[in-house]
Amino acid sequence: MQDQARLAELRQKFGREPAAPTEPRPGERTPREAQPRFRGLESGHRACQGCGEALAARLVMESAGPDVMVANATGCLEVFTTPWPQSAWRVPWIHSLFENSAAVASGMEAAMKAKGKNTKVLAFGGDGGTYDIGFQALSGMLERYHNILYVCYDNEAYMNTGIQRSSSTPHAATTTTSPAGKERMGKRHLKKDLLSIIAAHHIPYAASASVAYPQDLQRKVRYAMGIDGPTFLVVHSPCPLGWRHASALTIEVARKAVECGLFPLVELERGAVTNIMPIRQVRPVTDYLKLQGRFAHLTRDGDPRAQEERDHLQALADYNIQVFGLAGDGDDPADTAGVTTVGRGGPLAGRAS
């Protein structure tokens, strides 16, 4: 009798049968816990305001998780997410060294295989840990054909240690080790064409993505997650500190990099280009350059060296557009303008019309 009264009271309170102790009760979830997406990378991390890399990692985790493990190279992402004794990660996560995240991930994958588990292993690195320092470990991982998705967050310099040039830094960008001045107009060398090197490993899937196109980025992650074998994703992630632009402009800068052709969004399978994101309206590289302090020396009027470097970067962009066939051919729901279109209730991309 007493039980019946108690039950009635609980029904009154919760509007349904009282939950079992292990069952999550809707009434007790905070709005944060109730978000309709997987929060693999939580708030409270120490990334700078407007960090493109933090955004990219969050987007990757949302579409990869929850059944994943992460090996992380040294770099901004490692430092700002795991200031001991706290961690922003909500999945198993290992950091060892700058150069070995691909090797650590290989070991984790082998361990999962030995245990008969299907947990997917992700390896994360910045451009320093991927293009330069971790490159041979990455090449080995691809060659040994581990079932791993390697994601490179490309912010085009060693930002964590103080904005030193990397082999990913674009031509003519100023960094602390390639300063623009009397002798040089920023970095003398070219950005390494890493994707072609990766593709030469004949792996199932390699792609470039940008934080400015989150739906496209997440589609690429989901596609890679479905492949049993090595896959590689490089994500263009602006760094307001190192690129010297306002923190609110992160997405705009990334979008313009794609729209001018300097950062082509392509997908390669077994070394062959299988998909590109067409650019609906190709814009001049100066639209991209003038937003950033690292290219400020290129936007000075009346300086013949600046003119030459601007034209050089424009030629590099035109080369990408030509080689990958990026120029759009009419309106396409999958081109740079089509994928960003929103309507009431969310993005239009992928929505049944």
Binding site: E42, G50, S87, T250, G343
Partner: protein, 563 residues
């Protein structure tokens, strides 16, 4: 858990203990529901953005219900309004303003066809009654809004039919009688509205009596009397004044014969008259107006006050328009006109800051004319209202139209009005003010929210799509009975609604939620208190401003931390 001997570990998600919110230095993001420019520009007070949002969700009836909270006559205004909303539309700079009037008209027609019910309840039997003078758009709107505020309304109309200027001054080619009758009948059938026809203020009933018998009086008499017109003292013996001529035509279907007609004025009546006379067989019809034609070089204040599409149609039909000109002299043969002397003029700023008309010597020219029609506006019939008029009109000086305690002036009778939509908006405001007056309160508060400019939007996220074009009767097939502009239909109306940029209001597009690097935007299933589905978790927001920059509609704005 196994204790690791080397290295270190941390429990998942523990960074939540570290509140990065105190990194914000100067600004924080907030949701600000600014007014959409269409809403700010609407004389009737409609929130077009709000009802387009309902259509974007696929709910046409809810859109109509939202629309009629401001304007009970959408089928009428969708046809006759000069739609300042479309002029103000932020989409105009992208790929053409929304076809708001076409969609409004479709909603109004759909409501009539499907019998959607107005969202009003019958007033209580002992509810106070308000007297409304005039059953034109202003009076009808006032009565309807009295009902919405729980009051009864009694309308006094001098003529045998309700409709006012809508019936007497707007040709059927713009507003078919079936539509007008259907919408007015539906409105008058609402419980709580009484209509007294053949009852003229000053003759059958006086203002003092109404003040005694009713809780408040709303005056929407319109303008009935022609203003005096002459040119340097000369008046032709067979002068026909514009609105009178139009009324006569609508009653009898014929104009006096004339080959060369000159119409002097610059409003919708003038343009309507030009087009009807041309169609009735006049060879040359010339409109002489002191204002300018719309164009890139024209000051917005100087543009002729005519529905833009009516002007285009008039030009299509061969009406000649002399802009920035006036009639300088009538050339008379006896007391008949044989021509007019026209001179160019412009409104120039005077030393006192007010515009004055300056005519330019040496620009005089002569046009042959056998009829000159002045269309320079009308004044309020002063009978029974003398003490409230200041010159020709009411000048209440407040949006509520208060003339005396419990007496409010509405619509064209106000010197600062001149559109159907303006009259409808006045009706709503006066009813609101009357309701608070009856309840013993002060004037209500005005909505002082900011307007969202085009610069506040992020146009990257909108797809280009051309404006819907309604079917039109070609110029040579136009007659006196068939409506010229057609219906766009359900599919085009719903598609047009998708073009709405939702200026200043949340589109629920998820951009802020998707693009926050700090996971500090939280999506909620329930509506948040500000009406959106997103919360800012200021415990973690670092104030980077990314969400505000990437918000398509300007709904997210960065404000100083102290605010």
């Amino acid at each position: 858990m196994t204790v690791l001997t080397r290295g270190a570990y941390a429990a998942p998600g523990t960074s939540l203990n570290f509140k990065t919110g105190n990194w914000r230095s100067t600004e924080k993001p907030v949701h600000i529901h600014a007014k959409a420019p269409c809403h700010a520009a609407c004389p009737a007070g409609e929130d077009q953005q709000a009802w387009f949002a309902k259509m974007q969700e696929g709910h046409a009836q809810e859109a109509w219900l939202n629309l009629v909270t401001a304007n009970p006559l959408p089928a009428v205004t969708g046809r006759v309004c000069p739609h300042p909303c479309e002029t103000a539309c932020n989409r105009a700079a992208i790929d053409g303003a929304l076809a708001i009037h076409n969609v409004e008209r479709w909603l109004g027609d759909e409501a009539i066809a499907r019998g959607w019910e107005y969202p009003v309840d019958a007033p209580a039997p002992d509810a106070p009654a308000v007297a409304v003078i005039g059953a034109g758009p202003g009076g009808l709107s006032a009565a309807y809004h009295c009902l919405r505020r729980g009051l009864k309304a009694e309308i006094f109309e001098a003529l045998p039919e309700a409709g006012g200027l809508l019936r007497s001054g707007i040709p059927r080619t713009r507003l078919p009688r079936e539509t007008l009758n259907a919408e007015i009948e539906r409105l008058l059938a609402l419980p709580g509205i009484t209509l007294r026809l053949h009852t003229r203020l000053g003759r059958d009933v006086s203002l003092d009596e109404l003040n005694q018998s009713h809780a408040a009086v709303l005056l929407a008499p319109g303008c009935q009397e022609s203003k005096h017109w002459d040119v340097q003292g000369a008046v032709p013996s067979d002068l026909h004044e514009g609105l009178a001529l139009l009324r006569e035509f609508m009653d009898h279907g014929a104009f006096p014969e004339a080959r060369n007609v000159v119409v002097h004025g610059g409003g919708n009546t003038a343009v309507d008259l030009c087009r009807l006379m041309k169609r009735a067989g006049s060879e040359h019809v010339t409109l002489i107006t002191a204002s300018g034609l719309p164009g890139p070089g024209t000051d917005p204040d100087d543009i002729i006050n005519v529905v833009p599409r009516e002007l285009e149609e008039a030009l299509e039909e061969g009406i000649e328009i002399l802009d920035h000109a006036t009639v300088n002299r009538l050339i008379m043969k006896g007391s008949k006109v044989t021509g007019v002397e026209v001179v160019s003029l412009k409104k120039e700023p005077g030393s006192d800051g007010r515009k004055r008309r300056v005519s330019f010597e040496g620009t005089e020219r002569v046009l042959p004319a056998d009829m000159v029609i002045p269309c320079i506006g009308e004044r309020v019939d002063p009978e029974g209202l003398n003490h409230l008029l200041d010159g020709n009109y009411f000048w209440p000086g407040t949006p509520w139209g208060k003339l005396e305690d419990g007496v409010y002036g509405i619509g064209d009778a106000r010197g600062d009005r001149g559109t159907v939509a303006g009259a409808i908006g006045d009706g709503a405001k006066a009813a609101e003010a009357a309701a608070t007056y009856i309840a013993g309160g002060q004037d209500p508060q005005l909505d002082t929210r900011e307007e969202m400019p085009a610069a506040g939007l992020n146009p990257v996220y909108y797809a280009l799509s051309p404006r819907a074009e309604p079917p039109k009767v070609p110029p040579d097939a136009r007659d006196f009975g068939t409506e010229i502009e057609g219906d766009i239909g359900r599919d085009a109306a719903m598609a047009e609604a998708q073009r709405c940029l939702s200026c200043g209001n949340c589109l629920a597009c998820d951009n802020c939620w998707t693009l926050c690097p700090d996971n500090a935007v939280i999506k909620t299933q329930e509506l948040a208190s500000d009406g959106s589905h997103y919360l800012f978790d200021l415990d973690y927001c670092k104030g980077c401003g990314l969400c505000a920059h990437e918000c398509p509609t300007g709904y997210i704005q960065m404000v100083p931390e102290t605010a």
